[in-house]
């Protein structure tokens, strides 16, 4: 049976919200949810205005949504939740994306740290941070990353989604497979979904192989492997796109895909089971990307990014029927 997702609309767009600070000019990318008693805290990544060289940094933030009216914003983070790294460190130029998970009474975050390179635009590695105040601030575990490029994963390591099942931490992420030099001189990265496990969030064992087949060929890029356990199996929602021309062509930009697994290792891709596509017009008319799925008060919801991979903020959809 095909899962029927019904779009409910756009939830938050910093560019059109009256009370955003100057480090939150636009973008609300890669949303993640932690549910509290009275509100739903949505962590995401935003951007201040670009610098003189039109370069952006990405900052980590949240908005709180009223638990009984998810379109009502009751609070916006008053400062970035993570500092940028010092000169020369892996996260000097941004913390994006970020995945948050409960660890007892703490929250932990695995985040992508951005550095700028000469021959390619960036490199990304994953850092670890912890919050003891419900996510109002996070402290880094150290100045460097906990998961970085390796012998079998030589390029960018990013798009983390951290989960805990039993005593084991599972980190789904994307690993860059190669950089491609485009005719206009820009380099684009092709990345695939991967997974690693850890007892302690610091020492990771990688599976070192792709989780799903690529339906758009070798140059398909896959990101944001958001995993939810429901009805006896693991459901993964992710996004995928063509390797090139995705910035200008609607047909080649991000779509949301689906795969399921019984063991988190072997996944069956079945994109036909999700029907959430770009709208005819509006904030998500060019792409749908960076899904996160959560259960709340008897419903299953998805937050996702729209045009510009979240430049227009994020919206919400509800599942009609259950995950099977």
């Amino acid at each position: 049976m095909r899962a029927q997702w019904k779009k409910l609309g756009q939830v938050f767009d910093p560019a059109h919200h009256p009370n955003c600070p100057d480090w939150m000019v636009d973008f609300a990318q890669a949303p993640n949810v932690i549910v509290f008693d009275d509100y739903v805290r949505v962590f995401f990544c935003c951007r201040p205005a670009p610098d003189a060289n039109r370069q952006f940094v990405s900052r980590f933030a949240y908005v709180d949504l009223d638990r009984v009216d998810l379109f009502r914003i009751i609070k916006i983070a008053d400062r970035p939740l993570l500092p940028l790294g010092d000169l020369g460190t892996f996260d000097e130029f941004g913390t994006y994306p970020v995945s948050v998970c409960r660890d007892g009474s703490d929250l932990i975050a695995i985040y992508g740290g951005w550095t700028r390179c000469e021959s390619v635009p960036f490199n990304i590695s994953l850092g670890l941070a912890r919050s003891t105040d419900d996510g109002n601030s996070f402290t880094k575990y150290g100045p460097g990353p906990v998961l970085s490029h390796s012998a079998d994963e030589p390029f960018t390591i990013t798009s983390p989604k951290i989960r805990r099942y039993g005593d084991i931490w599972y980190l789904a992420y994307t690993a860059g497979r190669r950089w491609i030099r485009c005719p206009d001189g820009r380099a684009e990265i092709i990345y695939k979904l991967r997974i690693a496990t850890s007892p302690d969030l610091v020492n990771w064992t990688r599976l070192n192989r792709d989780l799903i087949v690529s339906k758009l060929g070798d140059d398909e890029a896959q990101a944001c492997p958001d995993i939810l356990f429901a009805n006896g199996k693991y459901h993964m929602f992710y996004c995928y796109r063509h390797g090139l021309d995705f910035r200008t062509s609607k047909d080649k930009s991000y779509r949301i895909g689906y795969a399921s697994s019984l063991d988190l290792i072997h996944w069956e891709r079945d994109d036909a089971r999700i029907n959430l596509n770009p709208s005819e017009t509006g904030w998500d008319s060019e792409m749908v990307a960076y899904p996160t799925v959560f259960e709340l008060d008897g419903h299953t919801y998805m937050l996702y990014a729209g045009n510009g991979v979240g430049k227009t903020g994020f919206g919400i959809a509800v599942l009609e029927g259950g995950l099977v």
Binding site: R116, C117, S119, V120, Y141, G142, G144
Partner: protein, 320 residues
């Protein structure tokens, strides 16, 4: 330690080096074959944007070092693809014989924007005595920045001792801006890692050699067991104004240990310093210890970080 300097051994500007790598012969490191000593080094070539690429080559000597027997016909290991950790050079490259292979631990260079470079350590092996090396896995690094070693993980020196692989290497501790200096300068320290397979390493982010200077940079450790203890040479310098000011430039440091873990630094025992009016009058750097026919040798670079080649010294005695 008492040494006899044997002089400059190899000057790259006097030879036709493969791949147009006629500038520099940095960080010489030796393996001993049955009829020759093969010395690997990082040659450099200038690229279109005026920056340098380090490309490992070798030169073969007789075991008495009185004659060159040959030069590599091409660089022995390829640089990495677009965006790879070793896209912009391999320097230094540590070599060791293990079983019937030659193993290489490489310092890969990748250029950055806010700072000049980052480094990570790669692994490769050779089945033909080092004529050519094949990178491990998909060619990415086996050791890179970690939570407590945030950048510049490089300068590996690996030995298989007492049933385990040991690596001495450096990691960056800070990038610093100095007044009057345009680019940030890096600071790094020597550390120690262990491994059962030579690929998965355990490390702890701890500097093992005490500082002699404020903001001291320590680089390229090399270790040899002789006369009952472990001897380490490395090079060290100040954090800035070290390229042209000989007072801040690289010198050789020395430490000894009984257990490979706890090291006593005592540069006064190094026994090697700059020589007046010579090729190594302003700087000593990138040391490499090895044994050949029961003698202990030290390869090293002199002035200008090895722009005009490397020299060799022979150990007379481990006594002070």
């Amino acid at each position: 330690m008492q040494w006899e300097k044997l002089g400059k051994l190899f000057d790259p500007t006097q030879h036709a080096i493969a791949d147009g790598c006629s500038l520099f012969a940095k960080a010489p490191q030796a393996i001993v074959l049955h009829d020759r000593v093969r010395i690997f080094y990082s040659a450099q070539k200038k690229t279109e944007n005026g920056k340098y690429l380090s490309c490992p080559q070798y030169v073969d000597f007789t075991k008495s070092f009185d004659k060159i027997l040959g030069l590599s016909q091409r660089q022995v290991i390829a640089l990495g693809a677009l965006g790879a950790f070793d896209e912009h050079g391999i320097f230094p490259m540590n070599v060791l014989r293990y079983e019937d292979k030659v193993l290489a631990y490489t310092s890969g260079w990748s250029r950055r924007v806010a700072v000049s470079i980052d480094m990570s350590i790669g692994f490769a092996s050779s089945d033909n005595d080092g004529e050519s090396f094949v990178k491990y896995g998909d060619g990415g690094p086996i050791m890179s920045a970690s939570h407590n070693e945030p950048f510049l993980v490089g300068d590996p020196f690996v030995q298989y001792l007492n049933g385990q692989f040991h690596m001495w290497y450096i990691f960056g501790t800070s990038w610093n801006r100095f007044s009057g200096v345009g680019e940030p300068e890096r600071c790094y320290k020597i550390a120690h890692a262990v491994s059962n397979d030579g690929i998965q390493w355990e490390r702890n982010g701890r500097a093992i050699i005490s500082d002699r200077l404020a903001e001291e940079c320590q680089a390229l450790p090399t270790i040899l067991f002789k006369d009952g203890r472990f001897h380490m040479y490395f090079c060290y310098r100040g954090s800035h104004d070290f390229r042209t000011n000989t007072l801040n430039a690289y010198r050789l440091g020395y430490a000894f240990s009984d257990d490979m873990c706890n090291w006593n630094r005592d540069d006064s025992q190094a026994g090697l310093d700059v020589s007046p009016n010579a090729w190594d009058s302003d700087m000593l750097c990138y040391p490499h210890l090895f044994e050949c026919d029961d003698a202990v040798y030290l390869l090293y670079n002199g002035n200008d970080f090895g722009k005009y080649g490397f020299g060799i010294a022979r150990l007379i005695s481990t006594e002070p």
